[in-house]
């Protein structure tokens, strides 16, 4: 058994004041000047800590209010009111919601998993991954206590071709010539997001984070050129196969990715010619025909298939289909062809919460790529100003690589612990066993209609309440 994998986290402060959910409106006009103002009685000392920030015209009160409403409910003049901060509500989009962004910031800052009091406040179910639940074990099946350290839960996965059986030579030793297998201690590979106000320090920071975490950082090969040669084992260059791309692959690199195309075979051949020891991942768009394409690739001996969905967790060619269903469909196709166990399936697109890692795997992936969360960890607000050539409100490109790496390590440290929570409850001790384990998942589409569909018919004149 490998030594226990621990991600060391430490508090790494924001560089800017975070946009917070809470807004307090206090009208000074009409104030009765009470001897004991409710503002001085704030349980959290919010009003005492009040102060204006030099760099941003945001009253710090926004960031500290805990929404207890005591001041609102106690002010004799009824002069204090609360509302949701419009700037907060306007962040992101329907997939990268303000709450998700704020939670990612918090995790990147503290390295801690989000914990709160009271019951779950969200909707019953939702689109995509929100329409599935993970299982737990109770009385009739044992769980694993991974968090408090009583048992070791491994989150490691293998990348590459797994032989169906081990070939031994006559003297009993392992026969040479098996495909190389790469293992990473976390089922997560960092990937450069398609946009972001990044600079050389950001790239260096992400590579540093990948090295500290023992995983890989995937980015276009020309972007990786600026990095020091000793990062090579932790990089996964994406080659477009145009021009001199292959020549740019850093020495010591173990894994490259090429995009799928009709002539993928000749591209693979040219990579093999360059370095036969390289592991090859072929990136297949999550779109019509991906099952057949993946099957062909697997049958032709491609070790790793990367299914790429949209940044909103959808198919690239169909905005009504979710990657959750895409993964299940490709996985099933490969299982039916008896080939799933011999190759690796990675997924990207819209992975925004720790639970998406486990859920992708339950649906059939071996691991996932994390892109935008690694940018949001750097305080990105998903405002997309950078895509229009405008300045970044949080000056991401100015952040040092040390800060970038620490924030990303914090985020994935928190994700790792959340993965342990889910796996512990499921009673699964090895992340490799999560793959395609739909028996440990519950799906809205399988449960909802089955449970409620046959219920009472409604006749004319019935009253519903």
């Amino acid at each position: 058994m490998p030594s226990k994998y621990v991600i060391h986290v430490r508090e790494v402060p924001h560089r800017f004041e975070a946009v917070s959910k809470s807004g307090i409106i206090a009208w000074e006009e009409g104030c009765l000047r009470c001897a004991v103002c409710v503002k001085t009685k704030c349980v959290y000392g919010v009003y005492e800590n009040r102060g204006l920030h030099a760099r941003q015209m945001i009253d710090s009160i926004d960031n500290q209010c805990m929404n207890c409403l005591r001041c609102v409910q106690s002010c004799p003049g009824e002069l204090i009111h609360k509302s949701v901060n419009p700037e907060f509500k306007a962040m992101g989009d329907s997939h990268w919601t303000p709450n998700i962004i704020a939670n990612l910031w918090m995790q990147a800052k503290t390295g801690k998993i989000p914990v709160s009091g009271a019951g779950y406040p969200g909707p019953f179910s939702g689109p995509g991954f929100d329409s599935m639940w993970t299982d737990m074990s109770e009385i009739v099946r044992p769980t694993r206590d991974g968090i408090h350290g009583r048992e070791y839960i491994s989150t490691a996965i293998d990348l590459g071709k797994t032989p169906e059986f081990i070939r031994l030579s006559e003297d009993g030793s392992l026969e040479e010539g098996e495909m190389p297998l790469l293992d990473i201690p976390l089922p997560i590979i960092l990937r450069m997001p398609p946009f972001g106000a990044t600079g050389p320090a950001t790239i260096a920071g992400w590579a540093l984070a990948a090295r500290r975490l023992g995983t890989l950082f995937s980015a276009p090969v020309d972007i990786l050129e600026s990095l020091k040669p000793d990062f090579a084992p932790h990089l996964m260059p994406e080659c477009t196969m145009e021009g001199e791309d292959l020549e740019r692959i850093p020495a010591g690199n173990r894994l490259v990715e090429i995009p799928w195309s009709e002539d993928w075979k000749s591209r693979v051949d040219s990579v093999i010619r360059k370095d036969p020891s390289l592991l090859i991942s072929v990136r297949v768009p999550m779109a019509e025909g991906m099952e057949e394409r993946s099957l062909t690739l697997a049958q032709e001996g491609i070790a790793i298939i990367h299914l790429e969905g949209s940044m909103s967790g959808l198919f690239l060619d169909d905005k009504t289909r979710y990657i959750k269903d895409g993964i299940r469909s490709v996985h099933r196709k490969l299982v039916e062809a008896n080939i799933r166990d011999t190759m690796t399936l990675l997924v990207s697109g819209g992975i925004s919460l720790a639970e998406h890692v486990a859920k992708s795997m339950l649906c059939g992936a071996d691991g996932v790529f994390v892109d935008f969360p690694a940018l949001i960890a750097l305080e990105c607000r998903m405002c997309r100003r950078c895509t229009e050539g405008l300045s970044c409100p949080v000056e991401i490109d100015q952040a040092s690589s040390g800060w970038v790496a620490a924030r990303v390590v914090n985020l994935l440290g928190a994700w790792h612990n959340q993965l342990l929570e889910l796996m512990g409850a499921m009673g699964i001790r090895d992340a490799r066993r999560l793959r395609g384990e739909v028996g440990r998942a519950m799906f809205f589409e399988e449960l909802d209609e089955k449970t409620f569909g046959p219920m009472g018919d409604v006749e004319e004149g019935c009253e519903l309440e």
Binding site: C68, H81, G117, G119, Y120, F124, E138, I147, D448, L464
Partner: protein, 504 residues
Amino acid sequence: MLRRDVNLNNVESFQLPGVVRTPSRFRNPIGKYRLHRSDTCTACGKCVELCPTGVHVVRRGKVFVENHHLCVGNDCPDPCHKACPEGALTLRRNPDFDGMGDARWPADLLASTWHMAEFGKVPDKGLEYKLGASGGGFDKLRLVFRKNKSAFEEVADDDFDMGVVLNRRNDHAHRVRTEVPFYGGGMSYGSVSITTMLSRIKAAVALGTFCCTGEGGYPDELKPYDDHVITQVATGLFGVREETIQRVKIVEFKYAQGAKPGLGGHLLGDKVTPGVARMREAVVGYPLFSPFPFHSVYSVEDHKKHVDWIKAMNPKALVSVKVSTPTDVDMVAVGSYYAGAHIIHLDGSYGGTGAAPDIAKKNIAMPLEYALPKVHQFLKEEGVRDKLTVIASGGIRNPHDVAKAIALGADGVCTGTADLVALECIRCHKCESGRGCARGIATTDAELMQLIQMEWGTQRIVNMFLAWRRELVRILKKLGMKSLKELVGRTDCLTHIDYMKKRI
């Protein structure tokens, strides 16, 4: 104090408590609307005269908007702001109200629960008190009232049988029954203040039902109410002593908690105050881990050993088994029955907690609405449904949820969050931060605890549950039933608006 025995033989002597109006403990209660009165007001008194809920008050020749929270806004049949001869009144939504609440507990549901806790009846206008906004489960299920079902229209409310028999095995254990179809779910000493704990238990005594201590010990202050206390044995075994097991009529094993199924608990060192440490038989300032699962239970046989252990110490005790809702929850329920349990308590994934990882609350285990019919059906097929009491909890917010849970297959329900909302919890989700609950409910901070008086708390909870009971009676009348028992498992009385089939 007179001790009332909750024994089947003494049903006759039980009387429900009365409603006593118990307003908010804060100066400015939060309502949905705000009325603004401008300087042009001539104090003619028209608005005072018109308002059916007493929003306006005359004092020393001037009229004030004193009770914003009672205004029903556009639902008002004769709105003051339209009738004002001077045009001095304007109606607006309250911005505080719109910033409050969430999908499970929208602001309307919070405010209507506060209304019930103040007045002992459901709000008749202005607030949606029957449904939340979660977009599924209870919030998409509807009770179906068919025509010509008014046989019990004239029967007095008190004559409806709303009780639940908790010992259906008919063994030698106590023959316990509750007078209302709900009892208080476990909330430990430490997670809530002793005042909150006592308010809940005193309300349970008045309503002829029970309240659970949670894991964290059995404070001496609860002793006068032993007959209404359920003591909990959870995985940390904190505060479990032979003497506490022998004091009560019902002992609850907590195998899992809906909000954090499959996970253990962690009480931070700071929270282990001398009082908490004494109660939990631990050391002051050291963090306490409640493991998951019981490290002595990995099978139904092990579980039986646990149940036998309780029965050896207190042979007349009822044993309740609190579990959450994995896919094989039906197997767990049947296993619990064969191990000797009287009550299977299903805690669904929307249950409350003092603190739990968000990832667990959202994702682990299935919603209660799926688990209930599954368990009910499986127990029926096994032929043991009549021998086991099924209690549902985890997301029961209002009387309609109670009726729906019972129609899905429960005998009764457990509540927790609703009790706290009656005490003016606003679900800020910060139970654990800093000195604990800023509103004085879930805290052990000496100063914050003072925000609640026990009599106030008890009456608020009693009022809310009287409103629930009254509403449940109204529902039964419309269903043509006289006893809540008739509703158990009657899924034909429910329809889901997404799959509703109209038969004409």
